[in-house]
Symmetry: C2
Subunit: 237 residues, 2 copies
DNA sequence: ACTACTTCGTTAGGCATCGTAACTCTCGAG
DNA sequence: CTCGAGAGTTACGATGCCTAACGAAGTAGT
């Protein structure tokens, strides 16, 4: 958004990078993350092998970029829904979860890329945690309106410790809720979010990797049941 | 267990296969599934490259074997706990979940191997579904004692359809509970199991792939909270 | 407009990896 | 004791990642 025009060279560079990523995504869609081979991409973009290294310093660098994009993309999908949460927290939770799951189902390979199960040799980029938090941000906002009950309490306690120790988390919490790290609702908001994250990931992951295939599976049904249990436990209506 | 003695040649063969798998596991522990390179294994076992193809027809074949072993191993770990479920279904559920999670945490690479996020090119072996069911068997038994309430009902309805369509599932259900496919509790048992599976997988997966790192994470706390919610929804005590 | 510098791209090559082919050697079953 | 199956070997080919060394083209300063 910042620099629109730039030098023609830089423009061309950006364009080529985008084209490479686009092709990489297509290859990934048919053949998994391992199907992303620099040589093939190069051929398709009309370059010869090593030329790609002008645009990405390594294969992992390219994959990292795809990971970043994917995170941003889910975050956007979830955030879009999060904006109009007028119907009460319970329904908002369903909507958010639905958006997450829908994204995962629509883009299985990208979800697999994100979901931690690392491709070959590669270690997740360091800013992963931050981007993951961005995805879950709207959930924090929802759970900040809750009150933890029963079995969920121990989780809240742990989260209170967490938010006090990790300033990045405190910032995150504050950005989406306005709450301070030592607020009474801080732990609740985080606990709900992490629990929701875990459930989302479980359901999305099994669905995407095809483990539900065979059952007349509606992953959405599963997820809704889980999120409703969560809403119950956090007194969300 | 069947043939103990066999011909010396077959004995040697089995022994070598086992040694190869053992080394492969060690390599996987340090370097992920992609760290399993035939050449290196061969060198370590004292053979030269292509000799390994006498024992495994391809790299995927080897990995498939590791996957199978891993499934059997989790199933054993979970089943061991499932045996002595005297303390009531709720605690049994916790114990089962704990065993699953503990196994995953103790053997992260093997869990990652299983959990669907496929290594490079490779497709899961066909008997995967059956082995996965074996892991979850004890859960079916627990949830067969439950009564679905509230938000979980729609899942039950879907599962009833599933068990009627898929004979393998009906067999599975019957083997662990004695229930018939059209029994009133069939759907309940399956619904609870699948929900539990999803939660287990979500928590274990995030934990194993290190996404919880930083928070004073006790994955067990998370899991217990989730399983308790489930127990609540299914009226387990 | 001319020169100097940066960027882009090429070919050649190194290295690791999976996997096949063709050939030898050694067991062990009959 | 023989001879065939199984175990191993070396040689080779195909990909794939990546570096090195060089040439071509655009960019910028004067």
């Amino acid at each position: 958004m910042a620099a629109e025009i730039r030098s023609p060279r830089a423009r061309y560079r950006e364009q080529t990078r985008a084209e490479i990523k686009e092709i990489a995504l297509r290859h990934m869609a048919e053949g998994g993350a391992q199907g992303v081979a620099l040589t093939r991409i190069a051929k398709e973009v009309g370059l010869s092998g090593p030329a790609l290294y002008r645009y990405f310093s390594s294969r992992d660098d390219l994959l990292n970029d795809l990971v970043r994009d994917a995170y941003d993309d889910v975050a956007a999908a979830v955030g879009r829904v999060g904006a109009d949460a007028q119907a009460g927290p319970r329904l908002a939770l369903r909507a958010l979860g639905g958006a997450y799951l829908d994204w995962a189902v629509a883009q299985p390979h990208r979800y697999l890329l994100i979901q931690g199960s690392p491709v070959p040799g590669y270690a997740a980029p360091p800013d992963t945690a931050q981007r993951a938090r961005a995805v879950m941000g709207p959930f924090v906002k929802v759970f900040a309106q809750g009150e933890a009950t029963g079995a969920v309490r121990p989780v809240v306690a742990e989260m209170e410790g967490w938010v006090r120790k990790d300033p990045a988390v405190a910032d995150w919490l504050h950005a989406y809720t306005g709450l301070a790290a030592d607020d009474a609702h801080a732990g609740t908001a985080l606990a709900g979010t992490v629990l929701a994250w875990s459930q989302l990931h479980g359901t999305a992951s099994l669905e995407v990797s095809g483990q539900y295939s065979g059952m007349g599976h509606q992953a959405g049904t599963l997820l809704n049941a889980q999120l409703d249990m969560l809403a119950e436990a956090f007194g969300l209506r």
